[in-house]
């Protein structure tokens, strides 16, 4: 077999194949539920009602989507420029550490939120800057360095939580002291269990979209991603563009950790993120790397996680079904995308 490019894919092909990918994922979900000894339709129904069935569930889904929008944006921005940032997890924790460092009394009231947010972004950007400098200066592959830094960062967080940032009142648990009230992101409405981090994530998505669609930097990022040699030939500072991309991507990922600490948890512990950084890759790919699409796909991914947790308690299907479904959806989706642009010729 070989692939033949389709010059102008029909709309039916461009929409039909991704839809088919989602249908195939649902089929896989049904098979997994059956393997686990549960009724497939009931299981799928429980996932949907678990994610959206009540006001509490829906707000839980929105809360879970918040860090995923940030990490999804971080990955989308980087992948668009073919910068393989697999280290969103580490950058997320950098932001979370800053939220604690500046939010436990170090800064006074009116400034603490904006300053700690900006410093958090800076910290996340710096964590990614190292691997990117190694890539642009020495040609060291950033995939492996960003992946390895995730493990280093988690150990660093564990050290902080057992040492300098340990809560003296924590009954021996490795967690940080609680943030002061002024350092907490308020709820969007009183009585509503949803914090301003979600609104901030929507603003970030809009901001990234504006940068990509309306600025020279956005154009350069796409050009570098599409063809670095051509971009260099056209006189673009390819390495400079990669560094700027890294700063933006690392900063966005840091906001995920910052808003989880400042908005949701109120303190830092080493289980702050159940892999939000890695899940951001799925979020970004399902969104076809489009910043506004990231919002939709983050909601979808969050719904699968929240719904599966609730379904697992009711139907006894292990909650890891969520991760399996998302990995399956990712693989089906990249295949579907390739098949919109190429047709398979057998000979």
């Amino acid at each position: 077999m070989r692939l033949e490019a389709i010059p102008a894919p029909a709309l039916s092909r461009r929409i039909g194949l991704p839809v088919l990918a989602l249908v195939a994922t649902v089929v896989v979900a049904s098979v997994l539920a059956r393997v686990a000894g549960a009724d497939p339709f009931a299981t799928l129904g429980l996932i949907v009602t678990g994610a959206f069935g009540s006001k509490f569930a829906a707000l839980e889904t929105l809360n879970r989507a918040t860090p995923l929008i940030f990490t999804g944006l971080a990955v989308a921005v980087a992948f668009r420029a073919k910068l393989w940032n697999i280290g969103a997890e580490a950058q997320l924790y950098a932001g979370a550490i800053v939220a604690v460092l500046l939010g436990t009394g170090a800064l006074a009231a009116p400034w603490v939120l904006p300053v700690s947010m900006l410093v958090a972004m800076l910290a996340g950007a710096l964590v990614l800057l190292g691997p990117v400098m190694l890539k642009t200066r020495l040609g060291v592959d950033e995939v492996v360095t960003t992946l390895l830094l995730n493990f280093v960062m988690l150990l660093f967080v564990s050290y902080l939580l057992e040492g300098p940032l340990k809560d003296p009142m924590g009954m021996g648990w490795p967690k940080s002291p609680a943030l002061v009230k002024e350092a907490r992101l308020p709820r969007i409405a009183t009585g509503l269990r949803l914090h301003w981090g979600f609104a901030l994530a929507l603003i970030a998505a809009l901001g990234v979209w504006l940068i990509q669609a309306r600025t020279t930097l956005g154009f350069e990022m796409r050009a570098v991603g599409a063809n670095p040699a051509a971009a260099r030939f056209a006189g673009m500072p390819v390495n400079g563009v990669l560094v700027k991309t890294a700063l933006l991507s690392g900063g966005l990922a840091a906001l995920a950790g910052w808003s989880e600490v400042a908005g949701l948890k109120g303190h830092l512990s080493s289980d702050l993120s159940p892999g939000f950084g890695y899940t951001g890759i799925i979020v970004a790919m399902l969104a076809l790397l489009h910043p506004l699409g990231v919002v939709v796909s983050a909601l979808f991914v969050a719904a699968i996680f929240v719904g599966s947790d609730s379904m697992s308690r009711a139907a006894g299907v292990p909650t890891y079904i969520a991760d399996m479904l998302l990995a399956t959806a990712l693989l089906f989706m990249v295949l579907a995308l390739a098949l919109t642009r190429y047709r398979v010729v057998w000979k």
Binding site: M1, R2, L3, L32, V35, A36, W84, I86, L134, L138, G139, V140, D141, V143, V144, T145, L147, L148, L149, N150, F151, V152, L155, F156, S158, Y159, E162, G163, Y278, I281, I282, M285, G316, P318, Y320, I321, A322, D323, M324, L326, A327, T328, L330, L331, V334, L335, A338, L339, Y342
Partner: protein, 315 residues
């Protein structure tokens, strides 16, 4: 300083270094085969998890140990086939598909573990491979017990590395495989199928990664627990680069790495270790891998067609 010396002349240190190196050698050879044929396999981390799980589960359910190794090998080849079909004929992003395979294989192992053992709180143990001292050789001072009193899987790891080197550099198949990673058009001109060579390489390579994972459950720890691979797969990818895509150098890299790892575990027990946070020692393997990548960055001879999809008739 005397403590360091005491560690370096102890048999247990060298035996540990060889033991720690074994799964890394298996998985590094697996990744090396894939990359020499032109395919990056980021599924390695998840495939190692699945190999550790499937090998362990088979033995836990009553299969003999070698059948567990076979189960791991076959499951790894299955994931390899999936990766290869998506990235070779369809030419999908090797980064994205590889990470997807890692997520799928990891969550698949955890899902199946929970299904097989719903009520278990502490991971059940199996009877692992016992040390197999080689007569005469294991009586040599220092290197005898370190090198020749290991388990069968360790000997297998070194045998696999020798076989990979032999096949890559001394057989027509190895030549074709290396050419598929350097100049696929030339392979096709010889009437060979680049697609078939690459798919085969990724399947065999992924099988070896899974056996590397199974080493941990069948020879080292005797039970399966979550997060047990803990980045070893990513470290193996760094070791391939450090070894400049050559089996011999990659084995040396794995041994060097394992020696440092064995050393940091022992340094934690010394007075020096008591003064430093233990997390610093645990960070060492990852930092060391990054350092290795930096050191080799200028000298690496990357296969020319690595990550370049080959589409017949397209230039």
């Amino acid at each position: 300083m005397t403590e360091l010396w005491d560690i370096l002349i102890s048999v247990s240190f060298w035996a540990a270094a060889i033991r720690i190196a074994s799964p890394l050698i298996l998985a590094t050879m697996g990744e090396l085969i894939c990359e020499r044929a032109g395919v990056l396999n980021l599924g390695i981390e998840g495939i190692m998890v699945f190999g550790a799980f499937s090998g362990w589960l088979s033995v836990y359910l009553g299969a003999p140990l070698w059948l567990g190794v076979l189960a791991a090998l076959l499951s790894g080849m299955g994931f390899g086939l999936l990766h290869a079909v998506l990235v070779v004929p369809f030419g999908l992003s090797q980064h994205v598909v590889g990470l997807g395979i890692t997520m799928l294989a990891t969550s698949g192992s955890y899902f199946a573990y929970r299904l097989a053992l719903p009520e278990v709180t502490s991971p059940p143990k199996i009877e692992p491979f016992a040390p197999l001292p080689i007569p005469l050789l294991s009586d040599l001072p220092l290197i005898g017990p370190a090198l020749f009193a290991q388990t069968a899987l360790t000997y297998l790891a070194f045998a696999v590395a020798a076989a990979v080197a032999l096949v890559l550099y001394r057989t027509p198949l190895g030549l074709a495989l290396r050419a598929a990673g350097e100049n696929p058009a030339a392979v096709e001109a010889q009437g060979l199928s680049v697609t078939a060579l690459r798919i085969g390489a990724v399947m065999v390579g992924s099988g070896l990664m899974a056996v590397g994972g199974a080493f941990l459950t069948l020879s080292a720890f005797s039970s399966f627990f979550f997060e047990m691979i803990n980045g070893r797969g990513w470290i193996c990818i760094a070791l391939v680069v450090f070894g400049a895509w050559r089996p011999g150098k990659a084995v040396l890299g794995a041994l060097l790495f394992a020696a440092f790892d064995a050393l940091q575990i022992r340094l934690q027990q010394t007075p020096l270790g008591a003064h430093l946070p233990y997390q610093l020692f645990l960070m060492a393997p990852y930092l060391l891998s990054i350092l290795a990548l930096i050191l080799m960055s200028r000298r690496a001879e990357v296969p020319a067609a690595l990550m370049v999809p080959y589409n017949k008739g397209e230039r």
